[in-house]
Structures are given as C-alpha cells and as structure tokens.
Symmetry: C2
Amino acid sequence: VDKKDAKVLRLALLGYGNVGRAFTALAGEKDAELQARYGLRLVFTGVLRRGGGWRHPAGVAPADLQASGWTASRLPAGATAFAGDGADFAAQCPADVLIELTTLEPLTGEPATSHVRAALAAGRHVVTANKGPIAHAYRALRALAAEHGVALRFESTVLDGLPIFNLAEFTLPATRITGLRGPLNSTSNFVLDRMRMGWSQERAIVEARALGIAEANPAYDLDGWDAAVKATVLANVLLDTDLRPQDVAREGLGAEAMQPALAALPEGYALKQMVEVERDASGAVRATVALRALPPGDPLAHLSGMETGILLHTDTMGNVTLLEGEGGPGQTAFGVLADVIAIARAHGVRSDR
Amino acid sequence: VDKKDAKVLRLALLGYGNVGRAFTALAGEKDAELQARYGLRLVFTGVLRRGGGWRHPAGVAPADLQASGWTASRLPAGATAFAGDGADFAAQCPADVLIELTTLEPLTGEPATSHVRAALAAGRHVVTANKGPIAHAYRALRALAAEHGVALRFESTVLDGLPIFNLAEFTLPATRITGLRGPLNSTSNFVLDRMRMGWSQERAIVEARALGIAEANPAYDLDGWDAAVKATVLANVLLDTDLRPQDVAREGLGAEAMQPALAALPEGYALKQMVEVERDASGAVRATVALRALPPGDPLAHLSGMETGILLHTDTMGNVTLLEGEGGPGQTAFGVLADVIAIARAHGVRSDR
C-alpha cells in the first residue's frame, strides 16, 4: 500500500502516563506494518495531560510525536496549546478516535465517564483503558455510542491487553457466556505467593510496591475493591448485566484473612484472590471476590508472578481459558491498538484530513 | 430482526459424519439467536456423504433437515438426489458456502483439496474442518480464494473449535507470532497420562480407542504424524510459511520411547507429546514433534484428559495461552459455525435465494 493511499485515522490521547507513552511508542514501531497490512495510517491530532495539552488538526505522525520530546513549554511543530479541561478536549479535539487513558477513580468512574460521554456525543469513536466508565455507566454509554453510530471499545480495561472482549465478540459468536473466573488482582496474588514462600506479609507488600504493582495503600487491592471493579466490567459486558462495584460480594478478604487461609490450604493447592461471576437459575448475575483454594488440575492454579488469566464458561465450547504470560503498560498499549484497528476495520476511516 | 428481513446464507455440506451432524444440530439450536443477533438465517442447499446426497436450491432450514430423518432412500421434502462425486458437488451445489467435512487423508490431503479448489473456483466461500488442504496446499488455495474474492476459513482444523486462527486474525492485529507450542495429539497425551498412573501402555491404548480418541492403528498418533499435520497447518497459517507434514522433525517418538521418557521424568514435571514451531534467527521456520518434560510452572503442564491448548509467542503481548476444557464433535461444529458467521460478517450474504 502506497503511503498516500493509506486511510488515515486521527487519534487524540486524553491522559499521557505510562500507557500513553507505551502506546505512542507501539504506534511508531508498527507504523509501516499497519500501512502494509491494513492500509492504515495513525496520526495524533491532540494530547491532553496534567499540566497541559495541544491540538494539531493535520496530525503528527507517531515517530514525529516521539521525536518532538513534547513538554508543556515545547509543543510538536505546528501544534497549538489547548487550555480546556478533559471534557472540552473530548468534545473539541479534531479526532476520529478519542483514547481515554486518565487515572481511574473507582468509586465514581469520573471524570473519565464524562470524557467518554462528551466524545461519543460529538460523534467520535472511543477507546478507553479506564475501567470507570464501563463499571459505572456501560449501558448508557453503549446506547449513546449506538445513537451516534460510533464505537466504544475497552479491551485494556481488564487483564491489560489480553484480548478477552475481542475474543468474545469476534471469535465466540452466537455464544452465551454463562460464567467466568480469574485471579485478577495482581497485588493480592503476588502477596499470597510470597507469603507461601515464607515471606512476611509486610515484606511482600513492600516488594509489590517496589515492583510498581501495588498502590501506596494496599487495602484497595487486598480488600477486593480493585477486583470488584474488574468483576463489574466483565459481568456488565460479557454477561450483559448492569452491576456496580458495590454490588459485588467481597467475602473473607483483607490483610488479616490471608495467613489463616494459607494455613488451611490443602497440600498441592494454590490460594488466589479470585473474581467469580455466574448467572444463576433465575437469570440473575452474581459477582464475588474471595480467597479460593484452587486444586492442582485448575488451569488458573499455576499462574505465578505477573501471569494472569481468565476462564470462561460457555454454552458452545465448554470452558475456554485465556492466559497472559506477562502484563504491563506494553500489553495495555497493545489492547488500545487492537481496539483502534478494530474500529478501522469495522467503521472505515477518512481518506483525507 | 424480522425473519423475512434476515439475510440468508446457503450452506452445502460435503461429508456428514459426527461433525456434520453436530453442526446441523448446533445450527438448529442457534437458529433464533443467529437471526436476533446477526440478522442471519442459515439454510442447507445440499449434503453429500458416502452413499448419496441431495440438492435443494431453495434450501432446508436446520430444524427441517433434522426432522427429515434424511436417509439415502428418503430425501428432505423438495430435494433432488445428487449422483456426482465430491468435486462435482463442490462445483455445482447451489450454495454460498461449501463446508468440507470429509475424512482426512494425511499424506496427500486429497480428495478434500480438490473439493476446496472446485468450490473456490466456482466463487463459493469455503469452511473446512479438514487439515489436509491447509497442510498440503494452503498458499495455492489462499491465492485462489483471493482471486475469486471469497473466503477460505478453517478454524476447526486444529484444537477442535478453539478459536486459535480467529484469535490471531481478529484479536491480535499487527502482531507477529514468532513461535508456538502445544500438546496437540490427544491419544499420545492420554496414553502418557495413564502410563504415569501405572497403567500398561496396551491398556491405555485400548481405553483411548474405547473413548473414540484413538484410531485402530495408534502408530499414526504415537509416531507423531497426526501432530506433524497439525504443526504444518499452524506453521503455514500463523507463521506464514510453506511446510509439508514431512518437513516436520519427529524426534524420539513411538510407543517404545514412552516408558524410558517417563522413567527419566523429574519429580513434579509432566511428560507430553508437544508440537513446537519457531522462527529462527535466519527467518526460517522449524517445526518439531517430540516428547517434552514440562516444568510445573508451564501453563500446558497440567492439562489432563481431553483438555488441550496452545501457547503463542508474540511480539506485542509476550506469551498468550488459549486452553480448551473439553474437545469433541460439538466443539468442532462450533468452530465451523464461527467461520460461517465470520463470512457473513465480512462478505455480506445474499438477501434472497
């Protein structure tokens, strides 16, 4: 595909932390491959982060964005500074796709939900790696996207970029997912692993923080709130329900529950903080976060370190399990790119700017 | 979606054994769901099996096909008998999609390859669950499909219907698969499991036959030929190469190799007959079938019974592993249905017959 024949998709980034930087780097690495394989060229028409932002209606190529060494005081060539807030940016950025990468506010999902709403209402496709909008407002946002004929995609909201939503949508058609489970909180499972190896809980938590997987306050992870938000996202999308994080049962969790549960663990079993979602006989969907003893034959029992995964119960294929060998900003960035390419495939892209 | 507004996709089945019957049953179970979710209606315009076949240009609904209790002497209402061979049927059946389900001839891939070629040349999409055409003629058939603007899909050729090819195509875009491995021969891995439990090899083979997973002659499985055909399919498609089954290295296999390998197995390890495919530094793709000792942290080490799976090495996501909890004709039939739906989504379907 000749460069001038490639379709151009204009992207705007709202939030520019580890994932945003990994995404622009990946877009640069894959630039030639995207043009060759998909006839697709990505350009950045705006970025907003804490401390400032810019717009560039013609768009900056990924390599030029990286080379620009953008700071608040030095914009990419041809860009103009943007002074508004996130919702203004989402509504006004000259982009086909808004990519929402702001920091999660788990209890409300804001301001990310407002950003997503503003972009959809302006007729832009949205890709978000932020769990908040999907945990707190999925049905309303889905309806808004449908009303405006645009896509709302969110592969990277759980399990980094492991293609769980795309697996369900594109490879398990005509399938009902009747339940799922997975060890989705890295901090809890890292701490349990290390305690099993004989470490103190305190040392394991310090190490998890040093590795960048735990927040300063580990209670959000150990008490099951992180997993409850993820359970909500998975339940709402894959089992078509309308839960909120506070609807998720959190059973026997917390720092104090770990040592007794480990002491009671049968030989050969693994202890994990698990998300479980299932539809009961009445059709109601129930989501739970709890410490579970997994027998050695369980495909999720042997995950260690930063490995994670999910098991789906389906009516067509029985159990299907998808595992990730390693997670991080690079994997999350890939999930964003996969969503961008899915939009390009399904909705077409403008052939000029 | 109103029934009369649904798009109709006309299917013809070439081969009608366990998978064919499971597929027509699944199409019947999912009939209403396909119309509601995809606006898609499937009809059968022909079936050819050993002993006879029929054509029905208007098409028979899945439920009517099952209710017809079709035999060679009693055709579905409105059908006319078809007397030609498989290639004639593939060329002449009044169908949008030919579904190739004949029995594998592993050394040549015939007559399935001729069937697929005839259907593609006649402008029909093809879905095949038969490994032969993909192992022996993938590049030529892919080019023929492109020339005629039709699809060639083959999800069910390996790992039953576990969505490995659809995973790569739809959920891992812009990704290079640099290698893969999996315990893909059920008979060998069942026999190894049982021998580890103390059974004699002879008893394990008898049991595998009784369960319907082993052929009368187990050498095809134990000597690695079944796995070599699967390795070829995976390598040709996912690593874009052009191997034949005889190009696959089969190392230290056979019935006699199992007991010594089990005796040498380290504590806690699992012994599996593994397919391994990798691209070396020169860019050449090498495929191997061998008995391997898998350490306890390997996500493929704990599969038992009819569980199977595959691990992909990728440049974007690191390692991604997909596991199947149970395999059989129902799962294979699902893979065929997933391919049919992918064709309907990508290529549209005729709105009348």
